[in-house]
């Protein structure tokens, strides 16, 4: 009896040790409708383990602290283009094997299937999002004029009166100001790198300076436009899209002059859950999942094959409407658009940030 009890105990203990614990991965992301889309498209469809999403405020401050102290709490982070490059350069992210990721149905590797060049071996493609101007339907009708169409109209407070909601940092604003000033989308970064290019952008920004309301959190511009506090605002396209598609908000988006930004997944260097995290990243970057997040929000998959899945299955959005017209990286939205250049911002971002803060405060 005693022997068998001992044996049973040993067996139970053994089982407890041998049985692989259910894989658990922690993903730091941005919260709101965006994280909800990731939860539904990636985590809920992942059978090999559980992924827990937590919210963070962007930047690599937290990541750097965790990696350099060796006390790692997050496994995966959802990062912006600039952070994706700096973090990999500084050795804060794991460099990932490239051949384990799911190729497109036609056999194209993931890296070649991505719409922009993959900057390094740390990143896994996510989505494109954009800064884009929008207004409330009917805002400019009552004034007896035709509604704004172009990015130049956004900077034209004379013909399109009312305040403008813009964000408290310089990204995208410099590009938009130059496009509004007549620079072709393809030449924007050449002008920004040239002497006087930045002055030109700030001169254009000066023209709306007195009519500007600044926002710093993504939901704010929608409230500003909805309440009439401003007549037009820049916002993240997904926020506007979510309001239009899910809540029927009467917003009109002007894609002209939008600035697209990349969003990547990276893995923290030295995470104890390397294998599980890699498995999750493989899952989350497969074409099916890439497309799947667009059921819940109108951010564009970075992989062409992801877009193909959506186009082939319209109406794709969960409410049963077509989502392609709302994608920032397809169709009419791309007619006059700029992909933000992270390399330019890596060189000049800090100097521009100081200048922009000074400009705001003057």
């Amino acid at each position: 009896m005693r022997k068998s009890l001992q044996f049973g105990l040993a067996a139970a203990l053994g089982a407890a040790i041998v049985l692989p614990a259910q894989a658990e991965v922690t993903v730091a992301s941005w919260g709101g409708a965006y994280t909800m889309s990731q939860q539904k498209a990636y985590a809920d469809t992942w059978t090999a383990g559980t992924a827990t999403f937590i919210n963070y405020n962007g930047g690599l401050g937290e990541v750097r602290t965790q990696v350099e102290s060796g006390n790692i709490q997050w496994d995966i982070v959802d990062v912006l283009p600039h952070e994706a490059r700096v973090g990999c350069d500084e050795g804060l992210f794991e460099e990932l094997p490239r051949d384990v990721f799911t190729p497109a149905p036609d056999g194209t590797s993931m890296d070649d299937d991505t719409m922009v060049p993959v900057p390094n071996d740390c990143v896994v493609p996510q989505i494109f999002w954009s800064y884009v101007p929008f207004y409330k339907e009917g805002t400019f009708q009552s004034k007896g004029r035709k509604p704004p169409k172009t990015i130049a109209d956004f900077f034209d407070v004379e013909n399109f009166p009312g305040k403008r909601g813009i964000h408290t940092w310089a990204n995208a604003l410099i590009e938009m100001a130059l496009m509004a000033d007549g620079v072709a989308a393809a030449d924007v970064y050449d002008v920004m790198s040239s002497d006087g290019g930045i002055d030109r952008a700030f001169a254009k920004l000066d023209t709306i300076k007195n009519d500007v309301v600044f926002w710093s959190s993504g939901s704010k511009p929608l409230e500003l436009v909805m309440s009439g506090e401003v007549s037009m605002a820049l916002a993240y396209n997904g926020r506007i899209g979510a309001a239009i598609l899910s809540e029927g908000a009467p917003f009109v988006v002007n894609w002209d002059g939008q600035v697209l930004e990349e969003e990547w997944l990276v893995m923290l260097k030295g995470t104890p859950n390397y294998d599980e995290a890699l498995a999750f990243m493989i899952h989350a970057s497969a074409p099916e999942q890439q497309a799947g997040q667009a059921k819940w929000i109108n951010y564009g998959p970075m992989r062409r094959s992801g877009l193909d899945v959506i186009a082939a299955n319209e109406p794709f959005f969960n409410t049963g409407v077509d989502i392609m017209p709302h994608m920032p990286n397809a169709g009419v939205a791309m007619a006059n658009a700029v992909f933000a250049n992270p390399d330019w911002w890596a060189d000049n971002g800090d100097a521009i940030a100081e200048r922009f803060t000074a400009w705001m405060g003057q």
């Binding site: 930047g59 350069d89 050795g91 804060l92 926002w215 959190s217 506090e229 030295g270 940030a353 803060t357």
Partner: protein, 540 residues
């Protein structure tokens, strides 16, 4: 007689030891006990307060990382005439600094102790091996078993069985990091190849080629990280370094050998621009005051003279003044509002004052964000107050007051948020003032205003002092509220600190600004002590 005897002889306790000794002993024991009681608090303070502040202060002047990366360049740039594009020699130093790992093997590898004539710097380790000979040529110590043994120890320790599988796994995962932080200044580089190679080594025989190959390859990847980090640092000094380093690293791989000058300028024209070379001069010491200068809109020129920052980038001095102004206005506003409320609280009958107290504390228990958002609803141009003013024809529709997303909004919201910090200390002091004093003063003929000024108010000063200091110090470091409601001219220095800590990763500048803030608070505290006296402070 017996009594006299007893008084001259030492008094003994029951067990025969003199009372004095016994007393001392028990005092010491209670002292040690007391020490143990405060020990947790002291350790807590040390860990969460003193160490981070020390870390902050070091970070604000530390410049060792980039000195690790560019030892030869910094040593040689002293001879540069600072007017023309440098000679081939300096270009070669840059090339060597970026492409070789010799620096990790040489002992005096940083700052002024670097000896450029030491042949070790110029030994070329063949990228495809053999590595052993070249590394020993750089530093003969690496041929010695003793040099390797501490590394072997790290490996062995990580392989010891701790009894818990999780801990074992953790230790083995951290060991490659520990190895690299032994060999390099980096805590986030991994020496995984060396970790594996050293496992197969017995620890006594002369280390063989595979171990040298492993250490070379691991250091080469650590060098990549060091390059990434230092290019971020260099970019703070001169925008454009980041891109210059990135493109150059690619170009360096294709360069066959000297001369480098032309090839490098051809690869990226910034190598031919003086400002980039000038910025190197400024980074060449292990310690820098540059971050502090940056925090007050100054910078060093190439001769280490302090200059004003270029005009469009001057932003911090303005923010410092604004931060002081906002904190001052908030403190005054809180005082004006809190004083009568505290008086009411202290003098009303208990059942009313309790209710009032709950009203004071209620916002304290409400989420900060909820309060901020409700202020937005109230104050914005299409908000409740403006609507009411327009509706009552006090304002025309075109002239709605801008009270939100600007300076005014920040001050109003911060006053509301910080009000309890002012009310509570003042209230607790007022509570202790007997009402009879005022009555006595009036009985003696003082009109109420005089009685208030001469009798009541002076007694409340300790509470006012406590409230003022509390509110001012909390206000000066605020950043979440200004970020949400500050808009164009209501943002404070805390927002820039947060930006540099989280987004730009310029921790040096963030730390310098934090230190200045700390210094400013200490100075104000000192002034307060001189003017009012810190022992007059009363929290209750």
């Amino acid at each position: 007689m017996a009594i006299a005897n007893a008084s001259s002889a030492p008094i003994l306790t029951a067990d025969g030891t003199p009372l004095k000794v016994s007393l001392k002993r028990s005092m010491r024991r209670s002292k040690i006990q007391a020490l143990f009681l405060v020990l947790p608090a002291f350790l807590f303070l040390l860990v969460v307060f003193i160490l981070p502040i020390g870390n902050l202060l070091t970070r604000s002047v530390d410049d060792t990382l980039v000195n690790w990366q560019l030892p030869l360049t910094f040593q040689m740039i002293a001879d540069w005439d600072r007017a023309n594009i440098p000679e081939e020699e300096l270009f070669r130093a840059v090339f060597v600094d970026f492409t070789t790992v010799n620096k990790f093997f040489i002992e005096s590898n940083r700052g002024s102790s670097v000896n450029t004539s030491d042949a070790a710097w110029w030994v070329a380790i063949p990228p495809k091996g053999p590595y052993r000979e070249a590394i020993i040529q750089i530093n003969p110590a690496w041929g010695d078993v003793v040099t390797w043994q501490p590394l072997k120890e790290i490996v062995d320790r990580s392989l010891e069985d701790t009894g818990s599988e999780k801990d074992n796994k953790h230790n083995q995962r951290r060991a490659p990091f520990d190895l690299c932080s032994e060999l390099t200044p980096l805590t986030n580089a991994t020496c995984s190849k060396l970790f594996r190679a050293l496992q197969n080594w017995d620890g006594n025989s002369a280390p063989d080629e595979p171990i040298f190959a492993a250490v070379y390859k691991d250091l080469a990847s650590a060098q990549k990280i060091l390059t990434g980090k230092s290019s971020t640092r260099m970019n703070y000094e001169q925008p454009g370094w980041k891109g210059l380093v990135r493109t150059s690293i690619r170009a360096f791989k294709k360069m066959e050998g000297p001369p480098y000058k032309e090839a490098m300028i051809k690869a990226n024209k910034r190598w031919g621009e003086i400002p980039f070379w000038e910025s190197l001069v400024l980074m060449k010491d292990n310690y820098t005051m540059g971050y502090y200068l940056n925090a007050v809109d100054r910078r060093f020129d190439v001769n280490k003279k302090i200059q004003l920052q270029s005009e469009e980038r001057r932003v911090y001095v303005m923010l410092w003044w604004r931060t002081l102004l906002i904190s001052f206005l908030v403190t005054v506003g809180c005082l004006v509002l809190a004083y009568p409320v505290s008086h009411l609280l202290a003098t009303l009958p208990l059942r009313y004052s309790n209710l009032l107290m709950i009203c004071v504390l209620m916002p304290f228990w409400t989420s900060l964000l909820v309060r901020i958002v409700s202020w937005m609803v109230m104050l914005q141009q299409q908000g409740v107050i403006n609507d009411a003013l327009v509706w009552s024809h006090l304002l025309s529709d075109e002239n709605r007051l801008p009270m939100m997303y600007n300076f005014t909004g920040t001050v109003i919201v911060m006053i509301q948020i910080l009000l309890p910090f002012m009310i509570l200390p003042i209230y607790s002091v007022m509570k202790t003032i007997p009402p009879s004093y005022m009555r006595a003063a009036q009985n003696l003929g003082a009109p109420p205003s005089l009685a208030f000024l001469r009798v009541y108010m002076p007694q409340t000063l300790p509470g006012i002092g406590a409230g003022v200091i509390l509110v001012f110090i909390v206000a000066i470091g605020y950043y979440i509220t200004p970020d949400l409601v500050g808009g164009k001219d209501g943002r404070m220095i805390g927002n820039m600190i947060a930006y540099h800590m989280q987004k730009s990763l310029n921790w040096g500048l963030g730390a310098a600004m934090g230190s200045v803030l700390l210094g400013a608070i200490l100075i104000l505290y000192w002034i307060y002590d001189k003017l009012v006296g810190i022992d007059n402070l009363k929290m209750g």
